[in-house]
């Protein structure tokens, strides 16, 4: 069997709810344990051992929650839209379940990014909120997540709900580059990118490491939640059929 066929076989098997249920169950333990470990290491390192910023002092430390939450809020959205696109094209039910799990954790990350940004903005900028392009587009992202969740729960027929919410998710992808480039395209109060740019990150190495660990922690949390929640959805669907 060639490598291509092996991958194809694995992918097809993963598409079946029964197989995914066991796959997720097997891996849930280590992803969640590793997420916990990363949170512990990243937060301790970032909040207690990383040096204070030359300009903002200790208040910059909220970066260790704000940046991973904001980055993952966008990453999770793109993954959700890809799941919906696969579901719409190949008529797979499982990917819609994964998308619905992603929507919940993505909405939580977006809300956290908005909240921590607000808390950070008050001492540094002097305001909790300003209708800046970056802040507004991130708020629209939260509404997209909430709209997706409501739409997929509101319609009684599963297939119709999947189709409608899937299209919403795909259309909403247009907001992702807008969020990322909002600080480049328009004059804004929010500063430019520190890490996600085609240049060396403009943050000292001893501050960058805990930040990367926190990003890994948030990613692992998202993966663990998707495993857990999709398993629950598979079980619920089984119960309904009985």
């Amino acid at each position: 069997m060639s490598v291509y066929q092996a991958i194809k076989h694995w992918w097809h098997k993963l598409g079946s709810p029964v197989h995914f249920y066991h796959f997720a169950g097997r891996h849930l333990k280590w992803t969640s344990l590793l997420a916990l470990l990363c949170y512990f290491t990243g937060l301790t390192w970032g909040l207690a051992f990383a040096p204070a910023d030359y300009q903002q002092g200790n208040s910059f430390r909220i970066i260790y929650l704000h940046v991973p939450a904001a980055a993952l809020s966008m990453g999770v959205y793109v993954s959700m839209a890809i799941c919906c696109a696969i579901g719409l094209i190949w008529k797979m039910k499982l990917t819609f379940m994964v998308a619905r799990s992603l929507a919940v954790i993505g909405a939580v990350f977006t809300a956290l990014a908005l909240f921590t940004g607000s808390v950070w903005g008050k001492p540094t900028w002097g305001t909790w909120w300003v209708w800046d392009a970056r802040l507004t587009s991130e708020l629209i992202l939260l509404f997209l997540y909430l709209g997706f969740i409501s739409l997929s729960e509101a319609l009684p027929d599963r297939d119709t709900a999947n189709k409608a919410s899937g299209i919403l998710a795909i259309v909403g992808v247009v907001n992702i580059p807008i969020i990322h480039y909002s600080v480049v395209w328009w004059q804004s109060l929010h500063q430019g990118s520190t890490i996600f740019k085609f240049a060396k990150p403009s943050i000292a190495t001893e501050m960058l490491w805990p930040l990367l660990i926190m990003m890994l922690a948030f990613s692992l949390l998202a993966v663990s939640y998707v495993f857990l929640n999709t398993r629950t959805q598979i079980l619920k669907q089984r119960i309904k059929r009985l």
Binding site: Y54, W90, T124, S188, A204, M207
Partner: protein
């Protein structure tokens, strides 16, 4: 790929393209409304309306800050390195406010292009480093304030 699936894939790509073009055009048309503030150059060129609430942003010019000793009234000029404009403000300035720092002020423009601000917000840049590193950079002459804060207004 199955023809039906290929058709659905093309349909999704087509929808996304149309939406991207529509949103792109809307944002392009609204670009001046999306910009949070006017630059001093735009104000000198009379691109900003007078007598209504607007925001102006730029770097606080080094050596321009004056404060009255018996009140919270202060006066300073902001620049985008080409033009500069004088801002007067009464109130408490944010912690990060200092000369050379990027700021955004909300208020009104007088007919003689002075800016009366009722709110001053500080911008900060995307560079994070410990104080010792900054001192070392300064000592070696690698720290150029103008260059460092170019991107911040």
């Amino acid at each position: 790929m199955h023809p039906l699936r290929r058709k659905r894939l093309m349909l999704i790509i087509y929808i996304m393209l149309i939406i991207a073009i529509v949103v792109g055009l809307i944002l392009y048309a609204l670009r001046q409304n999306i910009n949070l503030f006017y630059t001093p150059t735009q104000i000198i060129n009379n691109e900003a309306p007078k007598g209504v609430n607007i925001r102006v942003g730029g770097l606080v010019e080094v050596g321009s800050f004056k404060r009255e000793s018996d009140s919270l009234k202060s006066e300073f000029s902001v620049t985008d390195t080409e033009e500069s404009i004088v801002i007067s403000y009464e109130g408490i300035l944010p912690d990060l406010f200092r000369e050379g720092q990027g700021i955004v002020a909300k208020g009104q423009l007088t007919p003689e292009n002075r800016f009366i601000a009722d709110e001053v917000l500080a911008k900060h840049d995307e560079n994070y480093m410990p104080p010792e590193v900054k001192e070392a950079l300064e000592a070696k002459g690698y720290w150029q304030h103008d260059q460092q804060s170019q991107s911040t207004y």
